[in-house]
């Protein structure tokens, strides 16, 4: 992503929205961050900028909550000004949803930690390598304890000995990079540990949940902009002697998608509001997990369907790279996976309804 | 002596005398530490503005239909530049003459300045019957309070039916001030003025020039309007015409002036033909591409004795000075011939040149809105068309 775009986000004070003003942030609630996410998606149908925003916001929030004073001062003084980025790196080549079985390990060595392993399918690797910044990372401290022995920590990539990046070209969100990195005896200072040792798996969900809530609004923003493009098109284009917007078939689709996208917005904002409520001690974990999972379980699909029909209305043109809406179509496809797959969302919903005894794969 | 419409609130008056300093007509005296209004008060209101104690009240009576008919004659405010009449004054006089003829009334002109008498014959030639002049040194430079107070007083005394102002910097500062003092209707930037059912019909563009509006001021007098320079046509002068001259005595206390001019900076070179007066303008916009490329337009201008203008885009890009700008936020021009090169012709530019007699447009974009108002157009690159045109014209004009 071009540096001047990151700087522009910083200029409008979008990069530290939820961070404590003590570190230069605005200290807003997450609903306000949701509004920003939705608007950024309306403006950038490829969703590259919204992804940079939502990842930086969610994982910045986690650093704000669990980071050491030293780490926070060091990280936020640069990230909020757009001088470096914040990302998330939990996925590996062989590990996605099954985080407890990941290969990356972390051990204590005197005053530092040493990390070994690899991460893959991570957003923002190129940006972190070039501009600076780091990724909130998960690794196994006590592998024998599974999810109860994981550390969450901040891992800078640029100029870090032992980090070897690789890049892959994913099929959408072109302006933000996708890639991975090998971690070979990388040493990180102890003040980069986030929260306590072995408790990382529990903290990480707070970041995922906020990111998922923002993703729901990104899907809604991109889809509603695509629908607006579609409306303008069907009011202009004629076939068989009349504007295609006059045909019932088109109108039925338009109405159905409009309702779904508005419903998605309500699910998304309710989820973010619940997240805020929990911060204030007014909502339970159950309510937050449920609301967030509900919104993200449907977001990429309802958005995809709306955008797909907008492309269909545009006929052959919709299948070309000149059509703006196809960018959104490719972008929202990533959200069935990013920050937690749709399948996991459904398992979370079911778990909340059935109780922990019914957890799948136990 | 009680003067109709003005009253001194004796309990509030402290006899400070600020009102005396502000009155242009020397119509106030202080007697026994209280202000007293004299018979020659014109109700201009200059005293009300300066009184710190709100001790002066003016209540000009609302006009009945009978009163409206007492207002006669079509006046123009003649703006001066270095003691000479600005070209727009002749445009206003021509239009006023036309309106006055329809009404069967006379044309009056008001000139405020340091020296005015020498201008009376000149303005009379364009159809003015009476010239009201105020000549004092302190009127050399425009000052809102001075000009407004004096003009308001003259209008209240002589009751014109219509007063026209130029929509220049001065006119657009003065006219609303006077209109608000008199509590009358004022219409800005009129492009059309005529009489309909005995009333002044004022036509003007609105919404950035996208729409035209016809406006009347039926219940108040005088009916006031401003018109942009280069819109009304100037009639042929009749140098045998003479006008009556009414000299109005006025005094201004410079110490009472609350706004003072410290420095005057002139940016337009005197002598250089200005855009306003050119018969031929060759204008360039964003499509010119650079400051150097304007030389191509300047070459053509030399051949046909024209002046180079610019759209806002070219001025904003720093290629041409602001004084060259044609358009809504620049100058309005109406030359005989306007050649637009590399100008898309957005409405804000059109407003500034639409009333040109002939418009030629050259643009690489066939959809450019400039072609909607052009009489003749070429879809092409000006860097090829203009030099070729220049050569052709040199050949053809030499033949003559």
């Amino acid at each position: 992503m071009p540096k001047d775009i990151i700087k522009a986000l910083a200029k409008f004070e979008l990069l530290g929205m939820v961070i404590d003003p003590e570190y230069g942030g605005l200290g807003t609630d997450v609903v306000t961050a949701g509004i920003a996410a939705e608007e950024l998606a309306r403006a950038d149908l490829s969703c590259s900028i919204p992804v940079l925003f939502l990842v930086g916001t969610s994982w910045g929030h986690v650093i704000d909550k669990y980071g050491t004073e030293e780490a926070k001062k060091e990280i936020f003084s640069k990230s909020i000004k757009g001088e470096q980025i914040i990302g998330i790196a939990t996925t590996e080549s062989d590990t996605g949803s099954d985080l407890g079985n990941m290969k990356t390990k972390i051990t204590k060595k005197g005053d530092k930690y040493v990390v070994n392993g690899e991460k893959m399918y991570i957003s923002g690797v190129a940006e972190a390598m070039e501009y600076g910044g780091g990724h909130v990372t998960l690794a196994r401290m006590k592998p024998e304890l599974g999810t109860r022995g994981m550390n969450m920590f901040y891992l800078p990539l640029k100029d870090t000995p032992g980090i070897t990046p690789t890049y892959v070209e994913d099929i959408g969100r072109e302006a933000i990079s996708c890639g991975g990195f090998d971690i070979n005896n990388v040493e990180i200072p102890k003040h980069y540990l986030l929260g306590e040792e072995n408790k990382g798996f529990y903290y990480i969900h707070e970041g995922y949940e906020l990111a998922r809530g923002l993703i729901a609004l990104v899907c809604a923003g991109a889809a509603s902009k695509a629908l607006e493009n579609g409306i303008a098109y069907i009011k202009e284009r004629k076939a068989f002697g009349r504007h295609i917007g006059k045909y019932e078939g088109i109108q039925f689709k338009l109405a159905e998608h409009h309702v779904k996208i508005q419903a998605l917005r309500q699910l998304g904002y309710k989820a973010l509001w619940t997240y805020d409520q929990e911060i204030q001690g007014k909502a339970s974990r159950f309510e937050v997990s449920m609301a967030i999972a509900m919104a993200k379980s449907v977001a990429p699909f309802w958005a995809r369907d709306a955008i797909d029909d907008v492309m269909q209305w545009q006929g052959a043109f919709g299948y070309t790279k000149e059509c703006e809406d196809q960018k959104a179509w490719r972008a929202v496809r990533s959200f069935t996976l990013a920050e937690g797959s749709s399948e996991i969302m459904k398992l979370i919903i079911a778990r909340e309804l059935l109780g922990k005894e019914f957890l799948a794969y136990r | 002596m009680k003067i109709l419409g003005i009253e001194i609130v004796l309990e509030k008056c402290t006899g400070c005398g600020l009102c005396i300093k502000a009155c242009p007509f020397a119509a106030i005296k202080v007697k026994d530490k209280k202000a007293e209004i004299e018979a020659n008060c014109t109700l201009c209101g200059s005293c009300v503005d300066v009184c710190k104690f709100d001790a002066i009240l003016i209540d000009r009576p609302k006009l009945s239909n009978k009163d409206l008919s007492e207002y006669k004659d079509v006046w123009i405010f003649v703006e001066l530049k270095e003691n000479e009449i600005k070209k727009v004054g002749f445009e206003l006089a021509s239009k006023a003459r036309e309106i006055a003829d329809t009404l069967g009334e006379r044309v009056g002109a008001v000139i405020l300045g340091e020296k005015a008498k020498h201008l009376c014959d000149e303005i009379a030639a364009y159809g003015v019957d009476i010239v009201y002049i105020v000549e004092i040194e302190n009127l050399k430079e425009y000052n809102t309070s001075n000009y407004s107070g004096i003009l308001t007083g003259i209008i209240l005394k002589y009751k014109p039916n219509i007063v026209l102002f130029p929509a220049t910097h001065i006119g657009r500062d003065l006219a609303p001030r006077v209109a608000a003092t008199l509590e009358v209707g004022l219409t800005a930037d009129c492009t059309g003025l005529s009489i309909k059912d005995g009333l002044l019909l004022q036509s003007r563009p609105a919404f950035g020039g996208n729409i035209m509006a016809d406006i009347i001021s039926p219940t108040t007098r005088p009916q006031m309007a401003t018109t942009r320079p280069n819109v009304m046509k100037i009639k042929k002068p009749d140098n045998s015409r003479k006008a009556d001259i009414v000299t109005i005595p006025v005094n201004i206390d410079p110490k009472a002036m609350r706004i003072v001019i410290k420095e005057i900076i002139k940016t337009t070179k005197s002598g250089a033909k200005s855009l306003d007066e050119a018969d031929i303008i060759i204008s360039g916009g964003r499509g010119i591409g650079s400051s150097e490329n304007f030389k191509i337009l300047e070459e053509l201008a030399k051949t046909i004795n024209g002046v180079v203008g610019a759209s806002r885009a070219a001025v904003d890009a720093g290629w041409r000075p602001r004084s060259d700008q044609v358009g809504q936020s620049g100058k309005t021009v109406s030359p005989k011939l306007y050649i637009a090169c590399g100008i898309s012709g957005k409405i804000q530019h059109q407003v500034g040149m639409k009333s040109s007699d002939t418009i030629i447009a050259i643009n690489t974009d066939p959809e450019a809105p400039i072609f909607d108002i052009a009489d003749c157009g070429i879809v092409g690159d000006y860097t090829e068309v203009i030099p070729a045109l220049n050569e052709e014209l040199k050949k053809n004009l030499c033949k003559n």
Binding site: - | D173, L186, A206, L337, A361
Partner: protein
């Protein structure tokens, strides 16, 4: 030091189009914006206040309920409080009635030192309301103001644009200034923190009852000018397109121009 800024919410006239069939304005989908001249006025007022280190800024507008967003924008730019003067009774106001309503509101706010406004609104383009407010408040005015300097002793220096150049003026307070942004002025969006702060600033709505004043002077009844007709400007007729390569086109154009009166005069 008390500053008052008068603003207007206007349709973005660069986006307005005319319906080719009915010859009326198409107003749907045209975004409403803070009049750019007024945005410059607000920004300049805030800058002046920062320079002298004191003063409170009230921003007011007469408009429909939607004008709220223009006022919020001004609060985000740094004004301290906003007042929306809104009532059906104000509908149909010409510049006189508008000036009456606004000056009445200013008198109701109380004593003030400076009134800032934009030179003109991009929909009406009259530039009349500023001077008319000044007259009704009984204060001097300076229009076409490009630059304002105020020092801590409240000495005011103004850089004003005239037809032939510029003038530097000194003026006493109270005064009304009508500001003209330089052609380089690009209305910028305020940052997030200012927008969030704006939500917590005082915002009041005054209808005709709260405003008080002579009701006969508001709205259509109080207006001295009446619009009796609106229409699209007449078209100039067809454009004769010369279709040819540049050299041939130039030849044809040259023939047309040589017949033109302007060149014949040469």
């Amino acid at each position: 030091m008390k500053f008052i800024v008068c603003i207007k919410q206007v349709p973005d006239t660069t986006e307005v189009k005319v319906d080719p069939k009915t010859h009326t304005l198409i107003r749907e989908g045209v975004p409403s914006i803070l009049n750019p001249y007024d945005q410059f006025a607000v920004e300049e007022c805030v800058r002046i206040r920062e320079e002298i280190g004191e003063g409170s800024i009230s921003v007011i507008t007469m408009g429909p309920p939607q004008a709220r967003s223009a006022l919020m924008r001004c609060l985000a730019h740094g004004a301290d409080e906003a007042i929306l003067i809104s009532d059906k009774a104000f509908a149909g106001s010409d510049t006189w009635a508008t000036a009456y309503t606004l000056s009445h509101a200013i008198k109701k706010i109380g004593s003030f030192d400076m009134v800032f406004c934009g030179q003109q609104a991009i929909d009406g383009d009259t530039a009349q309301v500023g001077p008319e407010i000044a007259q009704q408040l009984g204060i001097p005015q300076i229009t076409y103001v490009e630059k304002v300097s105020l020092d801590k002793t409240h000495k005011l220096t103004i850089h004003k644009q005239t037809d032939g150049g510029d003038q530097i003026l000194e003026a006493k307070l109270p005064i009304l200034l009508a500001l003209l942004p330089p052609s380089s002025f690009q209305p910028e969006h305020p940052p997030m923190s200012s927008i969030l702060k704006a939500k917590r600033k005082p915002f009041n709505i005054w209808d005709a009852n709260i405003l008080g004043g002579d009701k006969s002077k508001f709205g259509l009844d109080g207006s001295f000018t009446q619009v009796i007709k609106t229409y699209t400007p007449p078209s100039r007729g067809e454009c004769e397109m010369i279709e040819d390569d540049p050299k041939e086109a130039a030849k044809k154009l040259s023939k047309i121009l040589c017949k033109n009166e302007a060149l014949a005069k040469r």
